[in-house]
Symmetry: D2
Subunit: 350 residues, 4 copies
């Protein structure tokens, strides 16, 4: 009953096989290999346009490199207050960005509200020599609340951002989970809706360590190769990270894996709802957040379930009680329905 | 006939197996797993003392994080002019170190001469508010010339460094190659000789992507976990990097792999010497540098051999000629003797 | 009728004379001069203990250097959301601090509430490798709302900060204005109340360009000389910045100048109150904030008054109206009562 | 007999008067004042074209901001090994430049040889993801050896730099001294010869603290206002730094002051030559370097002369002897001929 994170799963077997298969013969390092060349073409196909792609081993690096490249050091990067960048990267964007500033925005269901961006742009003191200049709007897809931005939301947010001179970055650590839910193509869900740069994560979705920074306008990527290298993020045996992505995309594996994770989250949410435990946010990807009494939390843990208890500070005030615990339950490609059902059954026990 | 680099090889089979075996079940991310815990103990055994270990996916990151941690931003890091840090990391040490300065020292055979360090410390204008302060001496073991620092050389250099207030860092991207050559224990070759922090590379030696920063005084490592994280260098599925190292150390695999690579280099050097092509620097690890006429270079390449031609600027002046090319030939755990012999045979052809 | 800022005034005549007098003969640069040596002793007398003092030409530099020195790059600096550091320094703390993060706290009357600090420390996810670590609490004295922290408030905030491992920084750009109001000694208002490092401003108070970073524990200042130099903040003709401070302190000039500025603010506030325009925040230093109808604002400007209209976002919601404008009126050593009275009279006109 | 530096002099009386005169009435801060506006026009007249000018209080800041603005963080700034930037700024360029790298070039008489730049560009491993990219060539005018680059030298160096994609920066801490010597107009000595950005110093030349970064292509200056502010280099009472420059330029004061300093240096050099002490480098500005026996050094110091003894490492090898001391003697606008003559007389004593 592991629901701690989607990074607690191992590696999806086809990706593991691709790694082993790539380990034959010699290949030049640092991306000068056939796997990488093939993969670059594959990215272009998937996103239906020329792109510039940079593979890196961690999602923190993908985000930090992306916003550092899109923002001057005196830029302000707008992100949700719950976003990974703001809360869980130990200041990586600020470090890579030469001391840029994150501006944390509120928003229901883990989503930045378009009005909040607008208001903040209009109200704040920005630019000139005295104030930082808004440079990037970063959207997390799926969000840290397990919800997703719909196409029209992305379009509206991007339009506001672009009108204000901000580039649009998407933190897609769980991009595939969002994609299979919204029935949109990768292109529609990104550049066609206004996204300029995407951090596309494969690690949580089944890879060993594989993330991509995708520039939809290759001209924007000038200097990014140097930035990645001096950030210590250019793998020497680069074929192995390319091979992970190649397998991830082959036969739509990435969509199947994400669909499974989402299905498990739906099953979990439905099961818990049946016993009166309703998710606090819509379950739209592979995360379920529920408020349970302290006793339930303890019983579940005693039975061996793993998950994180999150701070209730993000919840609407009226749902917070001294006794309640906010559980974050994450499913992955490796989650099996028996474990989901066992968890639900345990949660319902009295 | 691939002699381009030791990172052009794939992954040693036992390490590949360890990755596959680690991919079962769930494990908490970011190093909170059994593989990492076991590995930390293993490092302590191998180095015969408590150490603080930080695994990262690239050697550039290992070096940059290490020197950034040992030096204030106004520090000067002494390194050889040929060192990877000075020439091939696109400024990573400067970036991670908040703008520290590398001081490039000369020295025969790719090795920093003790006298050069002494002279530079005595002669330069250091410290006070106006000048940067010498903070770290970084030794590359094995060197970029394929030579190694002997124990007494490390001891002497460390003594001079420590007397001047500098910490000693060892860039051990090819540490195992040096170790098996010098018949010393890991402890003797490092902290017992005065090394404070070691970048221990496994990637070039047979891993997929696995490097370790080893602090021999764990107290010095305070804050390093944060530095690694904000550097985007903390892998989420951390068990897989720990598993690589575990297999690398098991049954002295690391020493066997290094021994093989060194043996191949010896065979290559001996073969070339027999036909009159003498190595320009002593062959003490897994790299052979030779000067050949342009025609030989072209013939070898035409026959499919791969290697890099290096700038002859590092050579003693009298050995440089307009026609000569300096070939760097690197062997690895994956090099086979047939290819070595074929290369030698081709080189000897007229 | 200049109320735009206290930095729109010129230089107080005794300070101007001191500059001229210092301009005789030769003196070594960079602080190796008699003025600087005398001044360092003077600081020790004024603050009743050994201190380490670093003079710099701007308040932004004083703040940024101070917090950069007290915080690791992965630190979080708690400050008021209205603070200069958070709003008006274009990211200088983040730049000097290698990418540190400012955490903006709310609080009535421009003051950080002790409970807010406590709650934030307890509630937030801090430290470990994933989160930044609270490192500094920065108090602005007098605040950007023209109020002051009382001794007991500083003591309580410092106690909470120290208990949480944070150092206490005071941004004293208007320190003298606060001091003369609270009838406390410089020592009582700073280190005796828990302040670790003070940015002491003289520029707004009558100097040309003179700010000091004062470490109450000189041991904490190690490396600060290098940090100042590489920050481009070490004046070569240093005697002239020391001379400014020497004159500023002589015969309690600093207290007289501040008293005059405060008196003018009081007179302005009292005059406006008499005609029904009450200050929105207590007038405790040299700033008066009032809400006036748009027509009044326009009439005042048309008559030649200068001041800034501030965003009303900081006001309690119930005081905000579409028509109202929030004027910030700043007095200085150079403000004369006739201008104050004329302003009041104009404001009262209908 | 003060020859320690040109920053040991006080402030030239007309500049001191201008400061006092500027201290009347109120003026908006941060450059929104009449002095600054007038000065910007004055700069355009002097340099015969539109320029973007940024005033800062220190020469270190002027240099560091300039190269940081011209170079990406992965850039390499070519400068002379003796340059202030390389030796005396405690890493300021690296700090402001986000970890850029200085490449120190040799060259006789303190001047970078055109061939050295060419050779270095051709020979080095530059760019690509692995190596830093040459971004700026910085020339010191007058040099740290007291010599000057002639127009044709600047033109040739600029042409090589531009051909290689490098911008040309001139560190003009002693620009006026060079200018009056070469009988060229400010325009001819800078942008007409290929200089892109000039750090123009007034402090050593007679100001209190006033340096300017001058962009000859204003478009290149975009973002510089923010960079200066976040570097803590934007003075609040900005009129006083503008007033210094205004007086410095008025009635060609800057040229007269520089001419006097140069004349004193010539007198000193001629006097010393007469008694057999020949300058080691051509005396072309306001610095004289001589080798004297230890006894002479001691006698001069005992008589109260002040100057710095410099490391002899820069001298041609054959001129170095164990006994000799290399004295750096700097004259300024405040040097008087009696002191020069007294020094010469003392030096000649036996």
């Amino acid at each position: 009953m592991d629901f701690a994170s989607d990074n607690t799963a191992g590696v999806a077997p086809p990706i593991l096989r691709a790694i082993a298969e790539a380990s034959t013969g010699f290949a030049l390092g640092y991306g000068n290999d056939d796997w990488t060349r093939r993969l670059e073409r594959r990215f272009a196909e998937i996103f239906e346009r020329e792109v510039a792609v940079f593979l890196v081993p961690t999602g923190t690096a993908a985000n930090a490199l992306a916003v550092a490249h899109l923002s001057p050091p005196w830029g302000a990067v707008f992100c949700h207050a719950m976003s990974h960048m703001a809360t869980d990267e130990c200041g990586a964007p600020e470090f890579f960005g030469g001391g840029l500033k994150l501006v944390e925005l509120p928003g229901d269901d883990g989503k930045i509200a378009a009005d909040a961006v607008k208001a903040r742009l209009e109200r704040g003191a920005w630019g000139g020599p005295h104030h930082v200049t808004p440079s990037v709007l970063s959207l997390t897809q799926a969000t840290e609340a397990g919800t997703i931005y719909r196409l029209e939301e992305i379009r509206r947010l991007s339009a506001i951002a672009h009108a204000g001179g901000l580039a649009v970055h998407m933190d897609g650590a769980r991009f595939a989970n969002a994609l299979v839910r919204m029935h949109a193509s990768p292109a529609e869900a990104t550049w066609k809706a206004g996204v300029d740069v995407l951090s596309l994560g494969a690690t949580k979705a089944g890879a060993l360590a594989a993330e991509a920074v995708v520039f939809f306008d290759p001209a924007l990527a000038q200097g990014m190769a140097e930035r990645r290298k001096r950030g210590g993020q250019l793998l020497s045996k680069h074929r192995f990270i390319a091979a992970q992505f190649e397998a991830y995309f082959a036969d739509d594996l990435w969509l199947s894996l994400a669909r499974h994770a989402n299905t498990m989250a739906n099953r979990l949410a439905a099961g818990l709802a049946r016993i009166g435990i309703k998710p606090v946010w819509p379950v739209e990807a592979n995360e379920v957040f529920v408020l349970v009494p302290r006793a339930t939390d303890e019983r579940l843990k005693a039975a061996g379930a793993t998950y994180y208890v999150r701070s209730a500070e993000w919840l609407p005030t009226n749902t917070q009680t001294a006794d309640a615990r906010l559980l974050r339950l994450v499913t992955s490609f490796a989650t099996v329905s028996e474990e989901v059902d066992r968890f639900v059954s345990l949660a319902g026990d009295r």
